[in-house]
């Protein structure tokens, strides 16, 4: 059937257009980690907010490390909550311009300083004879064009998406430099915080989303938006008619002629180290044409010294129609990349705390494309990067777990149609698979070594 096959095609294509950048981000972080960490065993650790309570050193006992990591992650969650509430306050008082400027500044600091540090690491590792003039010009270009790309409302989509992924990679790599126990406890703490902040009525992410919905505004944050899947050629001469694929929900008993309402919860992933909140809210305005806005807000706080609050704001068009849709509502006819979101990234130099406003959550953009907050990119990549520090088997297992978690999150959203935190599922599966694989590898190594001792050496 033309309808169902094309819906499946478009659904698969949309999901693929979100999974691809997430996978690229994770892959590049793994490569960075394996290149730069091959010699040292993180002999220096970053001091930041995430290690404010306790600085892990290899000589401590396991119990001390565990308690220290717990305190670290609690402190981190506390700072992220604080940052998120500040964000809600600023948004409430309509300080949007300040937020956007702050985000542009953060993006510049991340791309310039963090990018510079990491490329210096690479230059030192490969002994590239680059001179400082060329290096500085290249870095300056990279940072400025990056800020323009994420900050300005209209830029080449590929460039914007690329820069968002790069920001995710840089921040995620920086996070993998945290001590090990702190990283894992921070991931778990962030997942739990995400759960709390989305589901509890006093949760800051929930407040933010409801505020944004009531005002019909976009939350300023960094959000990755996928290119919308467009299966139809459209008449370029008439701007009023745009074809796009909207999500269609078939009600049981509806025949094909009716418009059906489909509430699809899109998860906006924003980079917030702390929270990932998916909220989906669907509104149906009129029975004839169903439009639902599902806002998924996820806040992730990221960066050790930074409080990252990510809130993803995603509006899903509930109506999925094939064919031409006449767009009367200006919101709907705005082009794909909505520049309403900005991300604030703080510099992570020294012990300066940087705050990232990165939204987490998946949602649908006003043109029907999937939006993913940068926070999710970062946390997934941190998990996989940490797994890469042990062995590549854990990388494969964690990657599969995260992608599965992403799929489960989408399914849960479609089923429950309300605000759901998106990070916990993936992080839970990822952490579980990491420790299982590690345990398995250790026992396998024991077995092989014993076998070697018994049979190979003696004979």
């Amino acid at each position: 059937m033309a309808h169902s096959s094309s819906i499946l095609d478009s659904l698969g294509e949309e999901i693929l257009r979100i999974i691809t950048p997430v996978s690229i981000c994770m892959f590049l972080v793994v490569i960075l980690v394996s290149i730069l960490n091959s010699n040292s065993s993180s002999s220096f650790s970053v001091s930041s907010i995430a290690t404010i309570a306790y600085s892990e050193s290899t000589s401590d006992s396991d119990w001390d490390k565990f308690i220290g990591a717990l305190f670290n992650s609690l402190a981190f969650v506390f700072f992220v909550t604080l940052a998120t509430f500040i964000l809600v306050l600023l948004f409430y008082f309509r300080c949007t311009r300040f937020l956007k400027l702050y985000m542009a500044f953060s993006a510049f600091v991340v791309l310039g300083f963090l990018g510079g540090e990491i490329s210096l690491f690479l230059v030192q590792h490969f002994d590239t004879p680059i001179d400082c003039v060329t290096f500085l010009i290249a870095l300056f270009n990279f940072a400025v064009v990056g800020v323009v790309a994420v900050f300005m409302s209209k830029m080449a989509i590929v460039v914007t998406q690329g820069y968002l992924v790069v920001i995710g990679i840089l921040v995620a790599y920086w996070f993998t430099m945290l001590p090990e126990w702190t990283t894992w406890s921070m991931l778990v703490a962030m997942a739990l915080y995400d759960l709390a902040a989305v589901l509890l009525p006093v949760g800051p992410l929930r407040l933010l989303v409801e505020l944004a919905i009531s005002r019909d505004e976009e939350i300023p944050a960094l959000v990755y938006e996928a290119r919308p899947v467009n299966h139809h050629s459209f008449d370029a001469r008439t701007d009023a008619v745009t074809q796009r694929r909207l999500w269609r929900n078939r009600r049981i008993g509806d025949d094909d002629d009716d418009d059906s309402n489909l509430n699809v919860n899109s998860v906006l992933n924003s980079n917030m180290d702390e929270e990932n909140v998916l909220t989906s809210i669907s509104n149906t305005n009129d029975p004839g044409r169903i439009r639902g806005d599902i806002n998924l807000v996820r806040e992730n706080a990221s960066s050790n010294s930074n409080l990252n609050s990510n809130t993803l704001y995603d509006r899903n068009l509930v109506n999925v129609e094939e064919g031409q849709v006449r767009e009367t509502d200006t919101d709907v006819s705005t082009p794909l990349i909505d520049r309403g979101v900005t991300v604030r990234l703080h510099g992570v130099e020294d012990s300066a705390s940087s705050e990232s406003l990165m939204l987490e959550g998946i949602g649908l953009g006003s043109s029907g494309a999937i939006k993913l907050g940068l926070g999710d990119f970062i946390f997934y990549s941190v998990l996989v990067g940490r797994a890469a520090m042990y062995d590549f088997m854990t990388v494969y297992a964690c990657y599969l777990a995260i992608i599965a978690g992403l799929g489960v999150t989408l399914i849960l959203l479609a089923v429950y149609r309300k605000a759901l935190p998106a990070l916990p599922v993936s992080v839970a599966l990822g952490v579980l698979f990491y420790f299982l694989t590690r345990l398995l590898l250790e026992s396998l190594r024991e077995v092989i070594y014993n076998f070697y001792e018994l049979y190979i050496i003696d004979s």
Binding site: S6, L120, D131, A156, V159, T242, D256, P335, L336
Partner: protein, 136 residues
């Protein structure tokens, strides 16, 4: 019955760029097509990108050329945008040629060409001296 009209017309060109007068002249000046800018907005964007590129930002010129690729390709359309994009392309090639020649001279020439200054200019030594790679 909701059917996509295009399903019934397999000959319809999936390429959104169409013009009743000429089949090759694009309507949208940006590479994103209908998702990008209109022609009126594009003029100010192209002009800003071109002007700011003079602040040692050849990447901005490159982005300008990439974004307005249809303007470069179709030489007779978009007469208002075209001078900026062509200027960006020329500036990009000149700047890249200069920068690449300098970088290659530096890296290939090495100490033989520059003498002791090379050690002072090369990036990894500079990073060690200034302590740029120690985090905190």
């Amino acid at each position: 019955m909701e059917h996509n009209n295009n399903n019934n017309n397999p000959n319809r060109n999936p390429n959104p760029i169409r013009n009743p007068l000429s089949s090759s002249a694009p309507v949208w000046p940006t590479i994103d097509g209908a998702l990008g800018l209109t022609e009126e907005d594009s003029v100010s964007y192209a002009r800003n990108f071109y002007n700011f590129g003079f602040a040692l930002l050849p990447l901005l010129w490159a982005v300008n050329c990439f974004y307005f690729w249809p303007v470069l390709r179709h030489s007779r359309s978009f007469p208002r945008i075209r001078p900026y994009v062509v200027g960006s392309a020329i500036g990009l090639t000149v700047f890249t040629a200069l920068l690449c020649s300098w970088a290659l001279t530096f890296s290939l020439g090495g100490e033989r060409l520059f003498g002791p200054v090379w050690d002072q200019l090369v990036m990894y030594n500079l990073a060690d001296r200034l302590g740029l790679t120690t985090w905190s």
